[in-house]
Amino acid sequence: MNGRQLSKLLLTSALLLWSIGSFAAGISYSGPNRDAGGNIVPTPKGEKCVAPIADMRANHMDYLKHKRNETMRQGIRTEKNSLVECINCHVTPGEDGKVARINDEKHFCASCHRSASVTLDCFECHADRPVEYFSRLPGKDVFALNPALSSNTPHVVLNRKGE
């Protein structure tokens, strides 16, 4: 390896290290999406959350778990700490009028969990959009979600005859 090759290698390594460093700085915890004024976007529907923000940040997973057991095992279906109600309030249409899905970083849950590197599996089973976005259409195409409101859901047509 001559001097020219060595300097090229050193330069490449330095560039690589610099890019890794700046990438790492970019993924520091930033919380939900906020506008310039510090307000959460998209704006939640309600005026305030069921608990103070610091409490919710630290403990929302425990509240959700406690509530889920009550709901499933005992049929207690109050609104407080219910995942459906969290979604109903926090997942609202953005500036483009569309409701973000969980794989979109604009989604309220995803916006935090992405930056905090938390793998979230609630929405492998649970709906990631508010109840009002699931309108039932008559006829066979019963699962077509309201096209004006859904982002990019493929239509699935039900056609099951006997067995």
């Binding site: 049929g75 099951r160 006997g162």
Partner: protein, 254 residues
Amino acid sequence: MSPKNTKPEMNETNKIDQYRRKLLGGSAAAVAGLTLAPGLILNTVQAKSADQAVSNKNRWGLLIDTKRCADGCTDCVTACNTEHGLREIHGPATDAQWIRNVTLKNKSTGHTVNMPVMCQHCENPPCVDVCPTGASFKRDDGIVLVDKHICIGCRYCMMACPYKARNFIHEVLTDQLPVAPRGKGTVESCTLCVHKVDNGDGTTACADACKHGAITFGDLNDKNSLISKKLEISGGRELRAELGLNTGVRYQGL
């Protein structure tokens, strides 16, 4: 325990019993009744408040009149699929079916019977007995459910169920409905529309959709409910009654 101690305890028990009788008698009288025909009074399903836990005062069940169940009709299945967001993925061999349309044919006479078969919501459910994690459970009001958060997808319950009521989800699902969370790697079955029951709707999607009036939903513990009256007047039997599971779903015309 000495005999001296026994007596006051019995008095105490009697008092409690008296209190219970009074309480139950009082609340039963307060329930609003609807008279359909002379002698047949239907009590409306009492909605519990959202913060109240379910109790064994109720035992929810279905009564299916196979004589009314029409050949080729799949309304209940479609309604169930719509209600819970069940979709066709790879066809009937692997797709989830919470209600199966079953046709029985007597080979000697050729007589056929159609009926929907879903989770029978047993009082002594074999699926709950075999579940290694406690995911399969029975609510106090008799509804048998799967806690998918702790279901490991072992499928013992599917083997144990005599009615083939349970389904395993093989594929990644998307766009599940808020009332029916469902996902890959877990087992599921008819929930007796538990979200509607808790909401006090007093019906299920299948019972609602049956235009032939073949499906009746109601409280088996309430002697004045329509389902109990129908069972009292015309009877109804369990599928595989010999297993002694005391199912919540009963059939007429078999």
